[in-house]
Amino acid sequence: MADKLGPLGWMGVQFFGRMSASISHEIKNVLAIINENAGLLEDLALMAGKGVPLDPERLERVARGLMKQVQRADVIVKNMNKFAHSVDDFEKSVDLQDLLSVVVRLALRFADMRRVTLNLLPASAPVAVTTRPFLLENLLWCCLDFAMDQAGSGGTVTIGMEKTVDGARVTFSGLGDAEARTFPSQEERLLAEALAARTELDVEGGRLRLILSEANPGGTA
């Protein structure tokens, strides 16, 4: 299958699959918590039926917990929807802050698992770029995945962005000095080429920069 898709297509399918699996895992966790809270309410009702007085504060805590999980699921599903729609247009103008927010939100569970904190800085002004949204999400994920590995357990990866003369720059800082794996890999380099982007790794400064050129988003036009 990978042969027919080509390396970029296969990378994209793998990225989509990995994110979908993570989202489904998060939703399962939300459902499990809702299920347990509903079960607890049932337990309390059964106990009340046997004459044990109901504690209103306890009930309120359960209700608050349920509402919190519904809100959590709403955020997950809204982000999943934005991610799914990123393949609607092969190339278009996007707000980089919005697109980066989608990727950072998708990465949160991976960050939790590695005990890494993600800190997305708000852009001082909207950063609109003409790009290939899904490919850019994939490349941003590759950068973030590498940055989280480099930050290590207990680290914080700060993500900032700024407009440049012909595009935009995304900076990932807080990378530790652990022995780096090869970055970008051959596939990641192909992805960057397809976006006319390039990465700059500053090992001493603990920073990774992704530089996007809006003048030639496809890199071959």
């Binding site: 998060e26 399962k28 966790n29 918590i33 939790d112």
Partner: protein, 120 residues
């Protein structure tokens, strides 16, 4: 029956422990492998219910560490993962693999079965 529940979703694991305690089952909880190992050093547990994916490690690794220090401890995996995990979990020697969400009745039945306790 002394049960150790380990899951990184605190609200989930706290509520399951509370509901088990309401049924007279002694259940403690932890949200990471380090705490779980420390708890198992301080107290005897007959069975551990582990999430497959934990911060910085996996439930499969935690099972190995717990089993090494606590011969005779039994294990059940509880996870939100899909079918791909089934094979790995099955190979890891757990008595049962349960997908989230799971009813407490099913969980208790599996715990009893694993420990050779007759229901009721």
């Amino acid at each position: 029956m002394h049960i150790l529940l380990v899951d990184d979703e605190e609200e989930f694991v706290v509520t399951v422990a509370e509901r088990l305690n309401m049924r007279g089952i002694d259940a403690d909880w932890a949200t990471n492998a380090e705490d779980a190992l420390a708890m198992a050093r301080a107290k005897h547990y007959d069975l551990a219910v582990l999430d497959v994916k934990l911060p910085r490690t996996s439930g499969l690794e935690l099972r190995e560490w717990l089993a090494r220090d606590n011969p005779g401890m039994k294990f059940i995996f509880l996870t939100g993962h899909g079918s791909a995990e089934d094979y790995r979990v099955g190979a890891a020697g757990a008595a049962h693999y349960l997908g989230k969400p799971v009813s407490l009745q099913v969980l208790i039945a599996k715990m009893n079965e694993t420990l050779g306790i007759k229901d009721g």
